[in-house]
Amino acid sequence: MATQVLPGGALRGDAPGGINPVGIMPGFVTRDGVTVLEAEPLARNPEPSRRYYFYMMAPAIITLAAISLYPFFWLIWMSLHDVDIMAGDKWVGLKNFERLFTRDAKFSNGWLLLIQYSAMCLFFEVLLGVLIAVLLNRSRWEKVLVTVFLMPMMMAPAIAGLVWYYLYNGTFGWYHWFMQSVGLLGETSILGSPSTAMIGLVLVDIWQWTPLIVLITLAGLKRVPRDQLEANMVDGAGEIRNFFQVVLPNLYPFLLIGILLRFMDNFRFIDSVLILTGGGPADATNILPVYLFDVSFQYFKLGRGAAIALTLLVVTIILGMFLVKIFDSPAARNVGRTEG
């Protein structure tokens, strides 16, 4: 009967109890008639070269480039061209941008409306979200109510738009009837007047996305250090003072995350706006992303659309970086440090 030392550190018979890590005991006879006496230690692997790391990362980089960087550079290219598959793309330089910034009133109006829309949505969502979260926190029905509150958020924005479209409808909409009955509206529906249409959109956004702020705030409330609260109460603080002096500062980074997410969403989600008003009446709700959609996919002016998209992208990146910088501020980093 042959005996052999098997290569590979894993087969060394030095595990506790004399059993090696893979469970083969010295003296074990393999199927080939080899008796295992002991195993040699593994040689240490050589340090991988930089090229090795590059090869390992290459698939991810290529995929990322394909789905992100390539369209980005393509977007820049398109914004400098008059895009037309039949006639061929024509280089126009900065003409698309020149048009936007010099004589396209819908572009500037779109920015103003977008800022107005985002500001209103964020203000009310944060206000209501924090309020609801504080009321729900540690209440008896917290879990049930959180589940109920989250339901609108789980609805696709397009579906939410359709539901509210029918609720607002001047002919058979229940909300229209209600608002008319309590004197908030006349015979004109909320979406039928340039002065109220934006409010109609904001209400839908608040209804759908306040739950997200509630969820994030609730997570923040669970992390408010108890010792800080107790110390403040020892100093004579009541519930309200405690909220403003301890709870709110600790919620700060959580709220920033919520604001960042909602801010980005308002720049991207136009499903419900398209369904509810399509940007009207009289351009009263023609926020920039809706205008971008029209230019690109209704008028098929892809070059001009790319120029609009690029400005939107640049502003989003700048504002995103600004918010990230706030996250990185010492004040934000130190919040909640005393816990544990």
Binding site: T188, P194, Q298, F300
Partner: protein
Amino acid sequence: MFYVPKNAIYKRIPRRKFLELGGGVATALGAGSVAVGLSSVVTRSPVQAASSDDAKWKQYSGTKLVFMSENTPPSFAIRENLKPFYDLTGIEVEILTDDLPVVQQKVGIDLRSGKADFHLNYVQDKPIGAPFADYFANLNDFINDDTLPQDPDGMGADAWFENFLDVCGTMYTRDRLIAFPYDSAVACTFYRQDLFEQHSPDFEKEYGYRMEFTKDTTWKNVYDFAEFFKKLRAAGQDVPYGYAQHQGSFAWTAQLDIQRLMYAHGQWTEFDVDDKLGSKEPGPTRWGDESSIFLMEKWKELASVAHPDNLANDTLQLNTVYQAGQIAMQVQYHEFAASIEDEKTSRAAGGKTAYAPCPKGEASWIKNGGQAVNGTSCGIGGIGINNNASDDLKRAAYLFAMWSTSKETQYNVLKGVGGTPTRKAVMDMPGVKEARQRPTDMPNALTFDAVYDYGIKDPHFVLGPKIPEANEYYQIILTEVQKCISGQQDPAATCESIRDQVDDMNDI
């Protein structure tokens, strides 16, 4: 994985080739489009000019086609009854339907990207036909091909109702034909005959003429009717508003709405071009001239006596408002008659509604010296073939285009779900003539007198504007007219703003 006939000549990709093409990445990134692409297969059995008709119909048996259509009655009806076509040709057709703006986006992307995921397209005349005219196959090539079967009633202009082939098939040149008329939406007046008769004596006392609708009823009369109903409401009477406009978010029909008024007064059109042909370079617009400003003032006056939710009601909603009994009159497309006459959903059903041509121009409102006509606008939905498809797929698609617009198919749709025929020959089919009178089992036929016998004929019918930038044009009109109606700007400023934007759009 998928069934592919043995003689398939399309889209069988060898595994090695697939891998060479980076099939894995393509699959991951474009699963949706690949799935659609795989659904199209073409097979061919060669035929000669002398082959039998049966062989010509069957030459593409085993082929699969995709038709992207608006969600209109013919498409629903045909989708439910594709078996006769399959039995005739052996071709499988998948009909996808969606709202017009969505169809326009999907078809536009498909056409402009050089793809042919949709071999057959719904060519709504101005919104889809005008911007994408160059991307559709020239149907004249197939009409003149003796290796393809041909419809015994013909496919030329004479086979269709007057002007219909021009509306959807002719864009910018008569050398090419891009679509056959598939369905039609022609404007006419729907009004509550019961209410008109009930209130006519009171109306006559105040206005000095009877409240009735004929082909000579003018836009001034429409204003009077609407004002009268509004006064009754203000006096506390339980009556609907008199009138409402299509000024909601659907830009195209909002433009068609004001177009009827403009054209009725001296046949005013936006550009100095042949309205039936259209133009890729239409030149300076007429918006801002004396006629347009005057008529915009009248449009605003009409809005002031219309239903107060005017800016929220697009065409579909407006019809709902009428169905709900909230207005006594609407200028609407004749395809909606079936919904109005449905007693389950409409308070205006049961013989309460009558149909008349669109209102006529008021002589004193004409500023350009032209004649007063019953300005009748339309949307003629055509069926066209994607020119990016292979020659065989285009030929197979032609078979469906021809079958789906045949008089038998149109007759079945008319009887089934209330279609709106485009072929003259349908009028001679059994029961159609009788259906024009109540009681009827084809409610859309109640509009035929107003539409086919009158509105679509020259000089009443307005076809355009056929310009490549049609959709941007509609949006400009909608936005500026809404500003005018809501009091944000006066009519003159509105017309001048339209002029500036439209001329800028056309690089004037």
